[in-house]
Subunit: 202 residues, 2 copies
DNA sequence: GTCTATAAATCGATAGAC
DNA sequence: GTCTATCGATTTATAGAC
């Protein structure tokens, strides 16, 4: 282990700040968490935070990025681990059951997005990311549909938009009403699988 | 016009506060709007606000109630005004096109819900309202389906949950990305109409 | 680049006069 | 019930030492 360079220590503090900010944001929400709390919990001072992030929403944006990286990684791992379409569906179901809404990921993302929607810089970044995520999901759907000979009921981009909106809508509501079940999302996916029946018939 | 009783003037003040709070919340968001701004814009003092609402989130809850009343009234008017199913669908399409996300209703509701999700009192109220809205929508769907001989693809309650989540998800995303189209929601509705084909066949 | 210290402003909420 | 005045806590953000 060589001594860290200046650049490396800086990136380390940045990473630590993002990590603890993520925990606090998830636990108490974006608005209810102050930068002072983040600094203290991470073992730094408030000034340290501001030398790494110009504003609070810049830190928030970094946290969202980290969260989304984790989310994507988790789903990809899950999909890769399952072979058949039914297995993938079941695996995704288990993931959705425990992760959508309850953990607070969706709630945090949506709280941040709606609370900072008037800051043009943030708004643009979120819009950009939304499009990238939608496109990525569309490609994944297209790919999986081809692999399993499924005919999508609509353009992959539309199906992706539909599923994403559904997940967000369910997650948001589940954040304040745990009674809400996410079976609806699974049903939507199952419907996609139903088109499996007549693959290369015509 | 008789002189207003004490109770009436109080309700008038309350109504005025809610109205201007609604405007400010819609324009700038819940978190970004202070009670002082609301009081000043309404022509009252901060103390006047606090003699009508114990906390900020109590005012927020009242605003949400007013907003939702308007929303429901608008949709009902729209549905009553159209006779055939296709007309209703088209009318709802026009409403969705200009109202979902863009106006900020959904964004405000979701911002408030996610920002106050840790205040148990608010959380419970929102959860309660969510269930009432879902049930009402389910009843409306059931009613309309019967009228037009449509077989719903799933229990009305599930379809209602699905559509509601879809609307919320689309509205939220549209709040920071106007490029997003809501055609997906209309497609989902059109799919319901597609089940029109075999009504009393079996 | 991180620290301490603090500015500067604002917030939600309260007290007491009327 | 509404006012003025203000509390007290907290916020984001900055200045300057190291």
């Amino acid at each position: 282990m060589a001594r860290l360079t200046r650049k490396e220590t800086q990136e380390q503090t940045r990473a630590r700040l993002v990590e603890t900010a993520k925990d606090l944001f998830l636990a108490s929400g974006y608005n209810a968490t102050s930068l002072g709390q983040v600094a203290e919990a991470a073992g730094y001072s408030k000034g340290a935070v501001y030398s790494n992030f110009a504003t609070k929403h810049e830190l928030g944006l970094a946290v969202l990025e980290a969260v989304q990286r984790e989310r994507i990684a988790a789903v990809v791992t899950l999909l890769v681990g399952a072979d058949t379409f039914e297995d993938k569906l079941a695996a995704f179901g288990r993931w959705a059951e425990t992760n959508i809404g309850d953990v607070g990921w969706t709630a945090l993302e949506v709280e941040f997005a709606t609370s900072t929607r008037h800051i043009e810089e943030v708004r643009a970044a979120l819009a950009d990311r939304r499009r990238r995520v939608t496109t990525a999901l569309a490609e994944l759907l297209h790919e999986q549909a081809e692999t399993f000979g499924i005919t999508l009921p609509a353009p992959a981009e539309d199906v992706a938009t539909h599923l994403l909106a559904l997940g967000i809508g369910l997650g948001v509501q589940r954040a304040f009403d745990p009674e809400l079940q996410v079976t609806v999302l699974l049903d939507a996916l199952a419907e996609l699988a139903a088109n499996n029946k007549a693959p290369q018939a015509g």
